[in-house]
């Protein structure tokens, strides 16, 4: 599983695709990125890639659950859904239908830090996507009746993704515990109560505040000449007036002083543990060492966690670690494990912690370091197989504030990491006092309890 459900999508198929990306690193050293900024502040990134006659158009708004306020969790994602409900020019549901009958696929996704919309199309349909994205940057209808209907759809999405999925439920609770003040506290999809309390006016104010060209990045990658694309971008986006710069969120999570631990008891088959340490994001010089650390622990069957917990000790069905450096504010370095039937959750936790302690006690081997670097370099090339993924990576880096150059420089920076760097960051960050632990403890279901009670009588 993807341990941290940081991204939500409007329909599920595309979500499978994007979830593979969440928490993944890749880089673009070989890429040539053309960067422009229009007079109204819209930033444009263009990548020419002529391998296949396709193009991806992605518009990234710097707004996500991080920008929400207490009591309105899920507003960004709700607005994402409403972006398909029409403008004066293209009515309800028209957007996707027009893209589809032009042989394209479109969708959107919302994270803690951004909301992004994309169209994947044959390269000659670029203009259509630009025209329609420019159109919905202004004048969204936000019809009251449509909002109320779509809110029910989002509640169904919450049931599907969280309420009836024990592990996802635990992940949500753990984050709420790890971040007490910062908006990373609440889930991207929101709580039922907040969804019910939301109004059309909330959405309208939010839309007007954040959906302005100076708060967005347009990424285009694929089979098009930069000049051609740029002319079209200007044609459709130049006329959109600049907005007031949206205020950056100002909440800072206070320092954690001591381990926090929560338990969720519910009907589930197997115990599951998910825990995380507060770590810095891309703004820190330690970011590349943390990425190598993650690789050594978690990438592949030869990585330490799988080798120890699944292969040698046979304690877990799955185990892994995740570090998302491209978060706008510092996030967590996470670990997860599903307990193998018959095994004990406490032993699983101990075994994961033992691997963490080992890296704090002594640096990794030269061989492990080299392997991690090879993996990152290869993945960098593999990622480029898809223009969609390339564009997504650039869009993420740009939107969270790292800048797309962060992606371009990534492999080189990573090559410079030493064993001692990895050892040092393990000691610096993977400490008990900065840890929040979530445990899913299965309890018999209602029907099983009833059955047991009958049997006892």
């Amino acid at each position: 599983m993807t341990a941290n459900q940081r991204i939500l999508c409007r329909v599920s198929a595309a979500c499978l695709l994007t979830l593979f990306l969440a928490g993944q690193q890749a880089m673009a050293g070989r890429l040539t990125v053309h960067e422009f900024t229009l007079a109204n502040g819209l930033k444009v990134l263009l990548v020419e890639e002529h391998k296949a006659p396709v193009i991806t158009v992605q518009i990234w708004y710097k707004v996500g659950s991080r920008n929400e306020v207490m009591g309105r969790a899920g507003l960004s994602h709700m607005l994402e859904h409403m972006m398909f409900k029409g403008t004066p020019k293209y009515g309800k549901g028209e957007f996707s239908k027009i893209i589809e009958k032009n042989g394209g696929n479109d969708n959107a996704f919302t994270s803690q830090d951004y909301t992004a919309y994309f169209e994947n199309l044959a390269a000659d349909k670029l203009e259509l996507a630009l025209e329609m994205e420019a159109d919905r940057m202004q004048g969204l209808l936000l019809d009251e009746k449509e909002f109320k209907l779509e809110r029910e759809v989002v509640k169904e999405e919450r049931r599907l993704r969280v309420e009836d999925v024990p592990m996802a439920y635990l992940v949500e609770e753990m984050h709420a515990q790890a971040f007490m003040v910062h908006p990373y506290h609440w889930p991207i999809i929101g709580w039922f109560n907040d969804l019910d309390a939301m109004t059309r006016e909330d959405l309208k104010a939010y839309y007007e505040k954040y959906y302005v060209p100076n708060n967005a990045t347009l990424v285009i990658a694929g089979d098009v000449k930069a000049e051609t694309a740029m002319a079209l971008v200007k044609k459709y986006f130049e006329g959109i007036p600049q907005g007031s710069p949206p205020p950056p969120p100002s909440v800072v999570e206070p320092q954690q002083r001591g381990e926090r631990r929560i338990v969720v008891k519910r009907d589930a088959q197997l115990p599951f543990i998910y825990f995380g340490y507060k770590v810095p994001n891309f703004k820190s010089a330690d970011v590349h060492a943390l990425a190598v650390l993650e690789n050594i622990l978690s990438t592949g069957k030869s990585a330490r966690l799988y080798d120890s917990l699944v292969y040698r000790k046979k304690l877990a069905l799955q185990v892994g670690a995740g570090y998302d450096d491209l978060a706008a504010d510092p996030e967590l370095f996470t670990f997860y494990a599903t307990v193998k039937p018959g095994m004990n959750i406490a032993d699983v936790e101990k075994a994961v912690l033992a691997e963490i302690e080992r890296l704090k006690k002594e640096p990794p081997t030269d061989h492990e370091l080299q392997k991690a670097k090879h993996q990152v370099e290869a993945r960098y090339l593999f990622e480029q197989d898809s223009v969609f993924r390339q564009a997504m990576l650039l869009g993420t880096a740009e939107t969270v504030g790292a800048g797309w150059q962060y992606v371009a420089d990534y492999v080189d920076k990573l090559r410079g990491i030493t064993k001692e760097d990895v050892h040092r960051v393990a000691k610096k960050y993977l400490n008990e006092d900065a840890r929040t632990v979530g445990i899913l403890m299965p309890v018999p279901s209602r029907s099983e309890r009833a059955e047991a009670a009958r049997g006892a009588r």
Partner: protein, 450 residues
Amino acid sequence: MIRAALLLAALVWDGFFVGASDAAEIKPTRTVTENGMTVLIVDQPSLPIVTVDVLMKAGAVYDPDAKAGLAYMVAEMLDEGTKTRSATQIAEQIEFIGGELSTEGGEDNATARLRILRKDADIGFTLLADILRHPKFDPKEVARVRDELVGSLQSEKDEPGTIATKAFNELVFKGHPYRRPANGDEKTVTKLSRQDLVKFHDKFYRPNRAIMAIVGDLREAEALALVKKHFGTWAPKALPLPAFPAPEPLPKPTLKLIDKDLTQATIVLGHVGIARRNPDFYAVAVMNYILGGGGFSSRLVHRIREEQGLAYDVGSVFEANVMPGSFAVHVQTRNAASNQALASVLQELKRIRTEPVEDHELADAKAYLIGSFPLRLDTNAKLASLLNLVELHGLGLNYFDEYPKAIAAVTKEDVLRVAQKYINPDRYALVVVAKLAEAKIDANVVSITK
């Protein structure tokens, strides 16, 4: 490890919607080696990487009933040790060079996938050939993997979609191997022995049962030389294949209700569909796009999600396999809305069988299916897996030219005809996994279609 649930099934179907105008761009070559392996190659030099997909005709359909899960476990065991490399060594060797090697068991086939840098192609082929040809099935590893598979089966009981699909297939494919989950069940998997695995592998993992697609930065001659070097001495073996009886049709709408403490009901409704080789495939593709395959353009999404706000996820899928797979409508809605959602599904099934589709619906469906061609082939990985399916189903390398023509030729009459022929309102299976006390499924709901 975990078997594809409904959503993944939808993606598999999606893979077939290839086709089209820019065929000149994709020029695969096809070679059958002396030992009977079919090799499809696309030279794609834009990045220094290579993708290799091997499809083995060694799927779960060949499992004896009492050994359900055998083919799946064989696939899982391939990279868990060979005669000359331990499981750890295999993982270490491929991962040290940043490569990816994976295996997966399915209903009709098993798949092995390799992704590697061009400069490491020889090491990649070495490992790929080793795991396919010489798995050791070490007793220690067999015991461990078997425990893991049983654990995964237990874990699946938390997945309403998987529970529903399993129950649905059992009803729909009575008397046919598709009724069993590819990964078996706890009872059968627990009993699988090393000997079972060895025998299955010896029988089914043969070059004459393999299709290999190589896409990436290799010239055809380079690719063929690698194939010869690593697979040339693999001995073929002819195999009399079992004939599978057609599934017994359901006599009437058949309901299966499964109680679980959930907030949402998972509903699956359908019956046996079509095989990929069925000449009506293209008309069915258009029809199903309009019904429930076409995302936001489809009637089911429009009716159930957009008009009533009843579901996040709703759609219909024809799994066009080697043999006829299922036709299934799936929807998840809050328990209390189950009957309302179900009534809408049944009304849409009735409508597509009784009224011709609108002109614009037909035109839009065809425009999407034909126009989205380039998106189906825009990565090495997508192209490789598609090439294997084209070969498996005998569609021919001119498929890339023929597909758009076949879609373009579909008429309104065809759509109505295939809806009437392949959607049956009297003999379907309906599975609901829900908190039944809240869902209160109305058994009379079936009468709506009459």
